[in-house]
């Protein structure tokens, strides 16, 4: 492989990885975030305690979180073909990653919202707040924690995207496995590794910066 070929390959891989992470994080958040709020509201000490709904949602989240991700990707293949029209490539990876991360995002959201003391919720209720206003308050109070959760989700998804690479999922993980593992082209694999580390560092550092700026809870 010439240097130009390697650069082209890695550039494409990096772009694909960015798409995969952006796409899967967006979809996982789109569904996982409301699910997390619902879990928080319906729990026994929540604003709308509904034992049956909480039980079902909680079981669903636990069930999905207990399936090893690699198995989940394989299990999702038929569904993936049905929903996005293919079971390999970036689209299929985004689909599988998003579905796999929804319960994870939901649990992180639920836990973040629980960081607000019960007395704060009580205080806001005694001020005459509607339930919607209480939820808004919870979101504002836990924004730094929710953003931290988002960064954890993104970094987890980078790891999972590499696993999806085992099945031709696209992105840097895919290249690392195809060139490094199957063809013994170690330099390419290490380049991928370095790029992945840079990506994770970039995400972590930017989120740390934003969260630190937003978080007024600590002195």
């Amino acid at each position: 492989m010439t240097n130009a070929q390697i650069i082209a390959l890695l550039t494409k891989g990096f772009q694909d990885s960015l798409w995969i992470i952006a796409g899967s994080t967006s979809f996982a958040t789109l569904f996982g975030f409301p699910l997390g709020i619902l879990l928080n509201l319906t729990r026994q000490d929540g604003l709308y305690p509904k034992a049956a709904i909480y039980l079902i949602l909680n079981r669903f989240v636990n069930l999905f979180r207990s399936i090893p991700f690699y198995i989940l990707v394989v299990a999702l293949m038929p569904l993936s073909r049905f929903v996005v029209g293919t079971s390999i490539g970036i689209k299929a990876t985004i689909f599988a990653l998003a579905v796999g991360a929804i319960p994870f995002v939901a649990r992180l959201t639920e836990n973040s919202l629980r960081e607000v003391d019960a007395e704060v919720v009580d205080a806001v209720i005694t001020m005459g707040a509607t339930k919607l206003q209480v939820v808004r308050m919870l979101l504002k109070e836990t924004l730094p924690s929710l953003l931290s959760g988002l960064s954890v989700t993104m970094i987890m998804l980078i790891g999972y995207s590499a696993m999806a690479g085992l099945m031709g999922g696209g992105g840097l993980g895919d290249i690392a496995i195809r060139y490094g593992y199957y063809r013994f082209n170690y330099p390419v694999m290490y380049y991928c590794l370095i790029l992945l580390i840079i990506l994770v560092e970039l995400i972590q550092t930017s989120f740390n910066f934003i969260v630190k700026r937003l978080d007024k809870r600590a002195r």
Partner: protein, 248 residues
């Protein structure tokens, strides 16, 4: 005037039912400061949660200016809650909001005009002597300052009743004295009744005209503070008085 009549509340635990309130009745006149004292587990917290309309009693009535608050629907209940300003023990402020926004919060919820909010919040900041902390966050305040902000927040909707739950239990003696002075000032300058639920008798002694002693979900003694504290008739009152320290 606030009248509480035959309030009962029980909780179902796993293996038994706990009767937290066994038919308590009392009334609070306009501008009166009433103290309710009792040991831990006497039913103080349940009473406070019922009075702040966070908990619905099993039976009995809470009447504010001749309206029974218990029978209200959700919309009316929210209106009534604004008539009662509650100061909780842990001064639960919004940590992501400034002192100014914390005090303004009840008015922001009502979508009050910004100019009016500004006027009211500034007056309250002056009252609690924290004008210089308007843009600080709760994490930058001391325990006493937080409690002052919580009091200002409870006052911003001009309530008929100010309900305080153990307002000084987390404060040192000097800060407690300052808070007592602040409450006296509020009592003099504002047209509201104040109800303090506490186990700290020195606070009741310094502030209240009348005191009720709660034990095991019932009132066991009632009277003006000086008389009750001088000649306690019930064993619980005597026990509580044994713990009394003076701030004079």
């Amino acid at each position: 005037m606030i009248e509480i009549s035959r309030l009962t509340k029980s909780f179902q635990l796993k293996d038994r039912t706990v009767e937290a309130l066994k038919g308590v009745s009392f009334s609070l006149q306009p501008k009166e400061i009433l103290g309710i004292i009792g040991k831990s587990g006497a039913g103080k917290s349940t009473l406070l949660r019922c009075l702040s309309l966070l908990e619905t009693p099993d039976s009995g009535t809470i009447t504010l200016n001749k309206v029974n608050l218990i029978l209200a629907d959700e919309v009316r209940m929210r209106q009534y809650r604004k008539r009662i300003g509650v100061v909780f023990q842990s001064s639960p402020l919004l940590k992501q909001s400034t002192v100014y926004d914390n005090i303004a919060y009840p008015l922001i919820l009502e979508k009050t005009d910004k100019a009016l909010i500004d006027q009211k919040v500034k007056a309250l900041l002056k009252l609690i002597k924290l004008e210089d902390k308007a843009h600080a966050y709760p994490s930058q305040l001391s325990g006493g300052q937080k409690q002052r902000v919580a009091i200002a927040r409870a006052l911003v909707s001009d309530p008929d009743l100010l309900l305080l739950d153990e307002p000084t239990s987390a404060l040192d003696s000097v800060t407690t004295r300052d808070l007592i002075l602040l409450l006296k000032e509020i009592h003099q300058s504002r047209d509201l009744s104040i109800l303090i639920i506490t186990h700290e008798l020195n606070v009741v002694d310094a502030l209240c005209e009348r005191v009720l002693v709660l034990e095991d979900g019932c009132f066991v003694e009632e009277g003006d503070v000086k008389t009750v504290f001088k000649n306690p008739s019930h064993a619980v009152t005597r026990e509580l008085l044994g713990l009394k320290v003076s701030y004079d």
